[in-house]
Symmetry: C2
Subunit: 864 residues, 2 copies
């Protein structure tokens, strides 16, 4: 089972209480010192109490939110800076090796190729061993987590370590990989760990809602400290991870991201890398006339082309993944040698970028950062189409090839990097795709800019002043447009402003980004949504742009009508049947099969627990004890004492063997292991051993994973011991007879945990509205009711199907616009009236006879 | 009654259908031509059909969202540009008058003072007469509207005209007023009008959810085209108007705001005001070393001081409004002469800014725009504290006073403008406070910057290069910080980047804005929230920062327990009692008083309609007809035909006089006039004339305000005519007797509109969660249920009280942290169990006898 949905509103409060109580029961240490201290009568006790109170006051006054966000920003800035430092060192080492071996091309090639291969292989192996969850970008997972799904092991220290080290190695190899996506994940893990750490000092870090808020802020910090772009970071993280954004969280993101970006840049100043705090890729375009109005069509072209390019990138990336998965033979071979695929890909890519080889046509010797610096360069490389007018200095030299011109170099660079990036991001190492795409976009923009500069050597402006075209500005526009198209975000515009430190190209950038988004969104899902689909994460897809028919599909078109339910006056046998006939995790509880009035919902495991407590050996023992002689009862009570002692350690309250039903029902959580779903298939084989095992399993699942195995093992042992003591008292036939008898009893729901207010929808709620509500409240399912009566159920599955359009195939009529409204008005009134009349009639018949003359009433009705 | 809340989920679909149907019934014109054309057999009919289909295809393909947003952006850019042009002309006229009369100071003074007074008085009078809703900023109202509340007349053409003309005059007067808030309102009105206009061509503009989405985009356009700041506009409008923001709306705002800003700036280029598209207040700070790290404390000081200043501004503004309202004598006088207050305020302010008078110490001759341009100036005004080293050129001269230095001028400017702005924004004209505050902030920043420049004449940096301090950068920081503090937004940072066209000061600006927000938010509500409170708009306050106790207040602490309800098997007399005993707008419908199972909710007006149809003269007539002779019935049916003809025009279906209950119950909307609440006080005085009036009123409210008065009048006339025909058949005593008899009948709910799934909460839902849900779904009230049983109700009122902290006074226990969780776990289980047992017992008794041995069961229970 992949994830557990956040429970509905009703269950939430209980669960929280339960968790807290259990945690207090399990780990009372962090709370105890301060509370106990006041009772320890030492000499300096008053001082300590005073100090503690001061500390408490400080904590309560400063506000933990601030403390938390500052700490998070600080830690992330340090991590980001340290990683950048390590990556730069790695890249320098490669350059040094390559430069030192310039006597022999073969040796040079060996060094050039081996170094990244070793690093990538190490990174892949390390993450594979330590935490496979660290692989990839992390943004899709964060999107899912912020949706309310709990993904296992995604926010642990192990994953953190694996991601940081794996990412450093992967980026240090010089492959076209990015650090932005992984940084979102790293920041989130950092927030989760910090939250757990700070909860040692205060109690407010326990709240689930608050943790989600902090995770959202952490995503902003991740982007913010990666690019030193606080505003862009906040916006990008909102666009990428949220469906509905709580504006009250806004300041958190801004605060933490700004602090983080500040520290990140201050570290550079302190390290004497920079003179003062400036942008990461500072540009120096002229301010007074950044671009001409007539250049705008060129920017629009960049936007539209980037849109197509972005969609192509996502498509290519997905196809590569799917190809690798589908090809059984390749796959089997690669699965056996898990590290072969990364090594192979690295080998190919680094061979192609080898500077004396093919790399000379694509500026292969430049690192990603150098490439970006050169692309954003202020000068025009090509004038009049002849490249040799301009002197290439420093790292710009890489773009210059004696036998070709800069246009060819740029085109080759774009084409090669495109597939290389799409391929490299499928390697199972921690890596993002934002930076590679950003670089490709910048190169594309530069290409258009250089072409424009060649076409209009003296600029377009017709007035007295000559304003030359600035190809660097085109590079900025291209970078924002392509990265926006791949990620389906507009905030890449803000990121480029913050990255370059110039906002003069705001309108071209905005126009290009919006056009790129419009094209890309109509062709492909975003890269992150694509990964979500590939990984089959439980996420609700977005409603598309302008899909007006979504307003006309209604819940009744997509809901499941044939659902199993539990009635208030049902027998245990009915419970058993329901359990066997459905796999729903939440069963509706209705008043009776005739009225179908929805009273609440009950979890599947609770039903299982009810059934098991009814058929448990303990109750059988009780029946036995009532039948057999007193001395036998004495012997049994002896065993019960033994039993009591042995369970006491596992839970605070003494367990009574006479009542082995789930202890503290409100404290239980959804056990998500498939073990506690009942054995499907044979309803009669509710055998003894299996059942007792099942019962022990279902009844003793503690809240957290901690200690589960131990408890489970103990319980199983206990129940087996018990079984041995009691089992021989009854023959299997007797047991079966007793069980049959028990199954005919009415269910006593008083010990079950019932969600008293499950979320309800009406049949006529539109798909659009349903989607909104599901996204807003993070729902997993909702019951469809009509005047209190249960008529159906909608779960994420149906909703996803309806949105992805596989609806029409399944017999759902998609109405023409407006027609549905006409239908619905009539049918609504009719259906509701009928339902109401039934209810009313029921009352009339059951409770009291009709008083007033029915003739008049009926007349009314027929007149209508 | 001020506003009508968006209905709950259940009602929404029905209402929408109802509205559409009604609209179709009322105005079938726009739809008819295309549909009818295909049947008109003319010569060019096929061509026309083809053209129409092409048009349809285009509309459906291009996507109306795009068309709509482009049109909106275009219109708003034109409006903004035209207004700017008109305002500039007004201001130039004043300057020209003032300049032309420089021979006589008295004449100069008269001209200086009269001109703004006349303009402001005209503006106040004009808006007062045409649309008083146009007064003020509009952002608070938009915030409320986006929350789902419908404010009457706020989005009409009349208000649009009043706001545009009033705002132009008000800003043309040169008073310290802003155009940003009103522009949000203007853009929203523009969107609403455009939406109504475009609905003539297509059907998709009808959707309420879509309209809200479009309004959100319009707010962004308003800010965007006001400052030519698309990104800042989107962010500011999100922060100011939303609680939860749907990320899928994001692109709409960006698209429309970018297009609008683009057109707005292109118009300036075409008008030869600018050479190319640039920022509105372009700065030219040096790029290579914008600020030193050691200057950051000064920026932090600006932020903190701005925070206090912003809070003071909000406080002052509110106090002025409250003072004006409280002072009965002043108020009475001013209310009589509505235009006196604006004239008086304008007189005082313009007298003080008279350049040859006190104005010379505060740069009084500069317009707001010029002030800002000078404050963002690149040069340092004061060096070494002596102001005369620097030559003040052009408009900079205004800041220079021969007998004082620039520091004094700045201080005087700040102090005077501060109270002037706070006072001026209370004038009842369309005006915002953003720009005045922005200017004051810039002046404050400049003051700090000049002080720093005087303190460190050669800059702080200790290296070889001398980087002088740039006071203009401080002005930018101050402007962002103070406007951020007053509005409680962080996006003012982005706005200043876009306004100045430079992002080099990003970190100082972010730090100052965040600090200013932190200080201001802990002291005062934002200016807009303050206005919301003053105007008592139905808005839910935000949860404060770090109010952790909110997590511990639960619904059961704040809910109303003693609520009136309607049972399924009640009599009409019960309905009457319920109506008289409560003022709730939505009554819960429960199965029976014993079970209290919530089936749905029924609107108060529906209950009234049920009661009235039962007691209506028509039913009396029916009773009569059944008694009296056939020829009498013949005569009556005659009248019924007359009646039928006269109503036919008002609604599509023929009304039957024999059944004067609300026509098409599903088609009805909540009539929001207080007239249709039943007469409170005397339950026996359900007299004839009053009742028929009431009935007619309640039964014939059409969807929109259009035509209501006409219909109402007609219906009343009809019912009076009818009354005259029928009334004399029975004596009042007979009528009373008949009514008493009718009241004892059981209620037939089949004709009433019932919301089948009202929103439900559980007792243990936390206040935090409740607030979230109310904000997310735009709820007005929610029922509190426990396993299907109604136990209470929470409305906005209770929630607002709980959040604003007046809770503790009303007997609510605010628990210590964590304690509540402990309580709840125990009590939950207990209460739930009891309730469940009751239900269960009821079923046991009513439906079937206990089958299994009750001994064992009871044993279980006692053992527990």
């Amino acid at each position: 089972m992949y994830g557990r949905y956040t429970q509905d509103l009703g269950t939430f409060a209980k669960d929280e209480a339960a968790r807290l109580r259990l945690q207090e029961g399990d780990t009372p240490r962090p709370r105890r010192p301060s509370e106990l201290l006041e009772y320890t009568q030492g000499r300096c006790a008053p001082c300590r109490v005073c100090a503690l109170q001061c500390q408490r006051f400080l904590i309560s006054k400063v506000g933990e939110d601030w403390v938390f966000l500052i700490l998070l920003g600080l830690v992330m800035a340090l991590v980001s800076w340290a990683m950048d430092f390590a990556i730069a060192t790695c890249l320098q080492a490669q350059k040094w090796m390559y430069g030192g071996l310039d006597t022999n091309v073969l040796l040079q090639y060996m060094a050039w190729v081996t170094y990244p291969t070793v690093l990538i292989t190490f990174s892949a192996g390390f993450t594979q061993i330590l935490a496979p969850q660290a692989v990839g970008s992390g943004i899709p997972e964060m999107k899912t987590i912020l949706r309310g799904v709990v993904l296992k092991e995604y926010l642990t220290l192990k994953t953190f370590v694996a991601k940081v080290i794996g990412l450093t190695c992967a980026l240090g190899s010089g492959m076209p990989l990015g650090k932005e996506g992984p940084f979102v994940h790293i920041a989130s893990m950092c927030a989760a760990l910090l939250s757990r750490f700070l909860s040692l000092f205060g109690g407010f870090y326990e709240n689930e809602a608050r943790n989600i808020e902090m995770l959202a802020a952490a995503c902003a910090v991740g982007v913010g400290c990666c690019f030193a772009a606080p505003i862009g970071g906040v916006l990008f993280s909102i666009e990428v991870t949220s469906t509905f954004f709580a504006v009250r969280n806004y300041w958190r993101g801004f605060f933490a991201a700004t602090f983080s970006a500040f520290i990140f840049r201050v570290l550079a100043v302190w390290n004497k890398d920079e003179e003062t705090i400036t942008a990461l890729f500072k540009t120096r375009f002229r301010l007074d006339f950044p671009f001409d109005l007539q250049e705008l069509p060129a920017f629009a072209v960049i936007g539209i082309a980037s849109g197509f390019g972005g969609a192509l990138f996502v498509y290519l990336n997905r196809k590569i993944v799917q190809f690798m998965r589908r090809q059984k033979t390749i796959n089997r071979f690669l699965m056996k040698k898990r590290l072969l695929f990364p090594a192979l890909v690295t080998l190919i890519i680094s061979t192609l970028t080898f500077p004396p080889g093919f790399g000379q046509f694509m500026a292969g010797q430049l690192t990603q950062k150098d490439t970006l610096v050169t692309l954003f360069d202020n000068q025009t490389w090509a004038k009049q189409g002849i490249s040799d007018e301009f002197e290439y200095l420093g790292i710009l030299e890489a773009w210059h090839h004696p036998r070709s011109n800069v246009f060819i170099t740029l085109v080759v660079f774009i084409l090669m990097k495109f597939w290389m990036s799409a391929l490299a991001t499928t390697i199972p190492v921690p890596c993002g795709a934002f930076m590679p795409v950003f670089v490709i976009g910048a190169a594309f923009g530069r290409l258009v800019g250089e072409s424009m500069a060649a076409w209009f050597p003296d600029g377009i402006h017709t007035d007295s002043n000559i304003y030359r075209i600035v190809p660097g500005g085109y590079a900025v526009v291209g970078a924002a447009a392509l990265s926006g198209a791949v990620t389906h975000t507009v905030s890449t515009a803000v990121i480029v402003f913050e990255l370059t430190g110039q906002i003069s190209h705001i309108l071209p950038v905005m126009i290009a980004v919006i056009l790129a988004n419009a094209v890309a969104q109509s062709l492909q899902p975003s890269l992150y949504d694509s990964i979500i689909r590939i990984k089959k994460l439980p996420y609700l897809p977005e409603l598309g742009w302008g899909h007006h028919e979504k307003y006309n599909v209604r819940v009744e078109d997509i809901m499941v009508r044939d659902i199993r339910y539990v009635t208030l006056n049902c027998k245990y046998r009915d419970l058993q049947q329901v359990l066997h006939s459905t796999k729903m995790k939440n069963l509706p509880l209705v008043e009776s099969a005739e009225s179908m009035i929805l009273l609440g919902s009950i979890e599947r495991t609770q039903v299982g627990a009810l059934l098991n407590s009814q058929l448990s050996p303990q109750r059988r023992l009780l029946t036995l004890r009532q039948k057999v002689l007193p001395e036998d009862g004495h012997r049994l009570s002896d065993s019960s004492i033994r039993f009591q002692i042995s369970t006491e350690t596992s839970s605070g309250t003494p367990a009574r063997p006479a009542l082995r039903k789930p202890l503290k029902p409100a404290l239980k959580r959804v056990p998500s292991s498939p073990a506690d779903s009942p054995p499907v298939g044979s309803p009669d084989h509710t055998g003894i051993a299996l059942k007792s095992l099942f019962c022990a399993n279902a009844a003793t699942e503690p809240t957290e994973a901690q200690g589960t195995a131990y408890h489970k093992a103990k319980r199983v042992r206990i129940s087996i011991v018990e079984e041995m003591i009691l089992g021989d008292k009854m023959t299997p036939a007797e047991i079966l007879e007793w069980e049959e008898q028990q199954l005919d009893q009415l269910v006593d729901f008083s010990s079950a945990k019932i969600d008293p207010a499950p979320f309800q929808l009406v049949e006529h709620t539109s798909l659009h509205k349903t989607h909104t509500i599901f996204s807003l409240l993070g729902l997993d399912h909702a019951f469809v009711t009509s005047i209190g009566r249960l008529v159906g159920m909608v779960s994420l599955k149906e909703l996803r199907k309806a949105i992805e359009g596989s609806l029409t195939g399944k017999g759902v009529k998609v109405r023409p616009p407006l027609a549905s409204f006409r239908d619905s008005t009539a049918s609504t009134t009719e259906a509701d009236t009928t339902a109401l009349r039934q209810l009313w009639d029921r009352h009339q018949h059951h409770h009291m006879p009709r008083e007033a003359g029915p003739g008049g009433e009926d007349d009314d009705d027929t007149n209508k």
